[in-house]
Amino acid sequence: MEKAAPALKPEEQDVADPRALVAAARTGDPAALAMLYRRFADTAMAVAYRLLLSRADAEDVVHDLFLGLPEALRKYDERGALAAWLKRVTVRLALSRLRSPSRREVALEEAHAVTTVPADPAGRIALSEALAALPASLRTVLVLKEIEGFSHAEIAGLLGISKGASEVRLHRALRTLRRALSEEG
């Protein structure tokens, strides 16, 4: 089910300044953590889900992200945007989970279990399936580059590969995806 970013509750409006929220969250204040969650958890969930294609695994990533956030924020220097910082941490958590053999295997049913009410159901399910069928190494680069907007240099840093390898993987991912969709079409 698609969902827009939830609006802040009235009592939260007066602490809309992210710096105030961060300062409060650093102390472990549950209310501040809850506000950060309501602001950023959907984005984190989306990033994690796109990389893991598993709701359960994505929820575990978001759980860990906010569980460790108060302590991690103590090292956050506020030089960059909080949203971008959280996104990078989420990606790292998801990639770590992707490498873990304990994570649940993704069932295709789950891969498009959330693809409800699309404008073009058949096409969207085909796209979901084609994406899920990509090898994880290719899908990861595709998601990070084409959906999440990371540069190849950033992807290289995240994955511990060279920039060239990231470019090659994206090329292969697109080629594979195009072939799959052509066959589907």
């Binding site: 089910m1 302590e71 959330v114 290289a156 060279s162 920039k163 090329h171 969709l181």
Partner: protein, 348 residues
Amino acid sequence: MRWFAWRRRDLAEFAEAIRPELAELPVPEAGEDLLERILASRRSGARVILPHGDALGSRSGLRAAIAIAAALLLVAVFSRVFRPVGDEALAAGESWFAGAVAVAQPPGTPLPPVLVDAADRIRPMTVRLARTIRTGDGAVTSRVEVRIGIEPATLDGRAVWRVVSSQTNDAKAAQSVDTALVARADLRTLRNVAHESPYRSFSRINISQWLDGPRFMGEMSAERDGKVVAHRTFDRRLPPEAGPFVPQPLALLFLMGVSLHPGWRGSMSLLGWAVRDDNVFVPIRLRVEAEETIRVPAGQFACWRMVLEHSGRRQHYWVRKSDGLGIRLIDSTDTRIKGVREVVLIAD
């Protein structure tokens, strides 16, 4: 969909066409129930160390070459990196009973394996302990507080306990979190994940372990400046006669699941990081020596006084009679430190 019209064209154009379609694929929402789960985890004392979130620069050829050289150097010194170390504020792979070393060795005279027959005594709880090292004249040279939380969880549909041991050293900006998942029915270890930050010359080390029958598998990654610079996997066999195998976070809680009595004795093993061959597990022999009432910062308790033997060392260990929680440990036989190591319960 638009991409059907583009599918035979150039890949770049295909990417351009498919990008919005990919972005529009629906994703699950982060609901209030997940928030409740997070807040409950924090209330229980569970913590994790998050990975680095700093922006990443470009990876130039020079930096890549330096990284390769560093990797080669790392291989050369790898065995030195994971050499067991002496006691530190946050020592590598710190073990409750064995200090900072867990040496795999064959068990001595066989004792019956510890039988978990009272697993239902385990309950959600949070305890705080202090680990100190005192010199002969009583001066404290090292003191670290550790929090251990235990809460119910599920793993692949199986009822488990999640046991989280965490400690921080603000002065050194150091943090250590060790999380174990054990079966609720028999306390069998299923998963264990340890993070230490920093770890020696690394900004962070991650150890992930999972057990499947006699197989003890896992991986290690060490990070520097947010990048993984060392990675190793392992797949070991645990000898059944050395079991049960207890993960570090559960060490002081494990006997809560065991019925002790005068004359009781048994053997078990503490799991190490298992990255090195000599750091897989340490067999421990335990026996009840006496009944004694002692006072620790958390209060006065009737205890089983036990003797623990391992690695040529002998420790005294007090287990609370009411629930089996380890509340005091004294070790004066560790020749690598100049003093006495003591663990006491501060609060529960």
